[in-house]
Symmetry: C2
Subunit: 344 residues, 2 copies
DNA sequence: GTGAAAGCGCTAACAG
DNA sequence: CTGTTAGCGCTTTCAC
């Protein structure tokens, strides 16, 4: 028995052509809804294709037509909730187009990002959506020369290669710092992550520190963790910091999940959350709605960033002027873990 | 100025060949690390490719070699945490191989799944990983005939097309029901989702109901929600059910997040959680570690399911016997929202 | 409205 | 170790 006869051999246009008695070219037209084909011929082709279970070969199609309906999407991680949210936004928009996302995770490693990017560009995608503005020299060169729309998402603090969509994390951090000052907190503790490649968390902290410094508020303590962000980590760190620096009156977490853990811990300890002790996180995770208190946080508008990025790639977005940067406004959500503003 | 001269024109092997003075074929060999090439020639080629910024065209390569390093991954949603977790497991394993995942979301819609599958199969991927065992007739036919490994993940209750990896949700539900009975609860309330296509949640409930019925324990109330699962939804539902059926002594949530919301609500109400009122969720979300109480739950071993599925597709997994079904054991985690077993 | 010929950029197979 | 030849399965282009 020859290999040709196994069911694992893919059908070709030729098979459909022979089965329907219509030329390959016309079969191709029918299957792509291109050009005028008589209803009779069309019916014959559709019937044959369906009966045989023909699945077109996009590889060949893409090579011949020089068109690929793939969009490369590159994010640091899938374990951190924020990225699936961006992807969900992308997916939602692309679902209404012929485009399809291809996802790659870099694990916050610029070298891995470079490799993934190279790999993906070799599929000649119709667009690239990539998290952040920081990339290796080589990555930037590839992006600059790939000839398709490139959208850097989730950050606008820097020079985009082509287009950028997201919030300014520096500005968002600054805003939180301003709120802290306006509410009269005097000794701030910072609880962040050790991850080197997390430029956005770093920028948030920088913005926050700037606002504090302008208001002569010291950063009383700073603690960085590594590993997975969850409630437990937030609890641990909060406990440790409160023991090490008992007089902090505000805790800022770069991440809502650790913030929520800190909140739960503080409440259990009977601390005066929202009064003597202020707490704030970052990202406004929807799933946290319904905690005993609403943690103060900032909506980083990830889903929208994904949506707009997808629209840019799909050619369905009009920029405001000639700046291909779309700065979304991070919404500060005071919740009830802060005391009132002294002045308003 | 002709289009040929713009930087958007992709380079070809021929360009590298001309720039290096080496034949296209040898250039191809060098760039793929195939066959023996002298160090001198290799160096010339590598230099030219790098200098020009050549990015190979995998479309053409795939067509010529009939090999595609893409793996189709199809899940219902990216908004429900469980799926990114499976994908993370897949990604982790594939990162060590030449394979690359392509993600598609179906939004729990079988028709959308069928379309996505068709779309993906037309790229002739090296494997398919798809959530669940329930698909349309047409989808099943495509999967059965696509000629590459097909792994259905996250469920083993049913007939796999090729391979299947995951837990038995029916058995997991049954186990929870048994625990409920062993701990002497008598009136159980069920809090689930309305989503039609969520077969796994349905199977959990079925298994649970069976165990209860075998122990003559009635399902005292049943409530289904639609929309996004978060703490808030769990609170609402719990409140509503406790008002409607005040004498329930156990609440089972098909999802940990709603369960956690219910837990927080119950604690605030001063209910005797872990005593008179038992609570359990499902999925063992790591991020919830650190709640005021540990919600009883079941680890559905999603990440491992993804890892094993990826290994199967990568040809790096040996089945135990001739059954291409890998049943993972769901781990019951009692936490401290249940009272003690009456007998042990 | 339909068909025939050429070729997309690469690799398999073979020859040297 | 290196080169030549012949496609992969489609779509483009042009002819009818």
């Amino acid at each position: 028995m020859t290999r040709r006869n196994t069911r694992h051999q893919h059908l070709t246009l030729r098979d459909v052509s022979e089965a329907s008695g219509v030329s390959e070219m016309t079969v191709s037209r029918v299957l792509r809804n291109r050009g005028d084909v008589s209803d009779k011929t069309r019916a014959k082709v559709v019937e044959a294709a369906k009966r045989l279970g023909y699945v077109p070969n996009k590889i060949a199609g893409a090579l011949a037509s020089n068109r690929v309906n793939l969009v490369a999407v590159i994010v640091p991680s899938l374990s951190n909730l924020v990225f699936p949210e961006v992807i969900a936004g992308i997916d939602e928009v692309l679902a209404d187009t012929p485009l399809q996302p291809v996802i790659g995770a870099t694990n916050y490693d610029p070298e891995k990002e470079e490799k993934t990017l190279f790999e993906m560009l070799s599929w000649r995608p119709s667009g690239v959506i990539i998290a952040g503005l920081e990339h290796t020299e080589a990555s930037r060169a590839m992006l600059a020369n790939c000839g398709v729309p490139v959208v850097e998402v989730m950050d606008v603090d820097g020079d985009p290669i082509d287009a950028a969509v997201g919030i300014s994390h520096r500005r968002a951090g600054y805003q939180v710092g301003t709120e802290i000052a306006a509410r009269g907190y005097k000794r701030v503790g910072l609880l962040g992550t050790k991850v080197d490649g997390d430029h956005r968390a770093r920028k948030r902290i920088e913005g926050l520190e700037q606002a504090l410094s302008e208001n002569n508020i010291p950063v009383a303590d700073h603690m960085a963790y590594s590993g997975w962000s969850g409630f437990a980590k937030g609890r641990e760190m909060t406990k440790a910091m409160l023991e090490r620096t008992p007089d902090v009156d505000f805790l800022f977490y770069t991440n809502d999940l650790t913030g929520a853990g800190g909140l739960l811990y503080a409440l259990e300890q009977g601390l005066d959350v929202g009064g003597g002790l202020g707490l704030a996180g970052f990202n406004a995770f929807e799933l946290l709605d319904g905690l005993p208190r609403n943690l103060a946080t900032v909506d980083s508008r990830r889903r929208e960033a994904g949506q707009i990025a997808a629209r840019i790639v799909a050619g369905d977005y009009t920029f405001d002027g000639d700046d291909r940067r779309v700065e979304l406004t991070p919404t500060f959500i005071a919740g009830n873990t802060l005391r009132n503003r002294l002045t308003d």
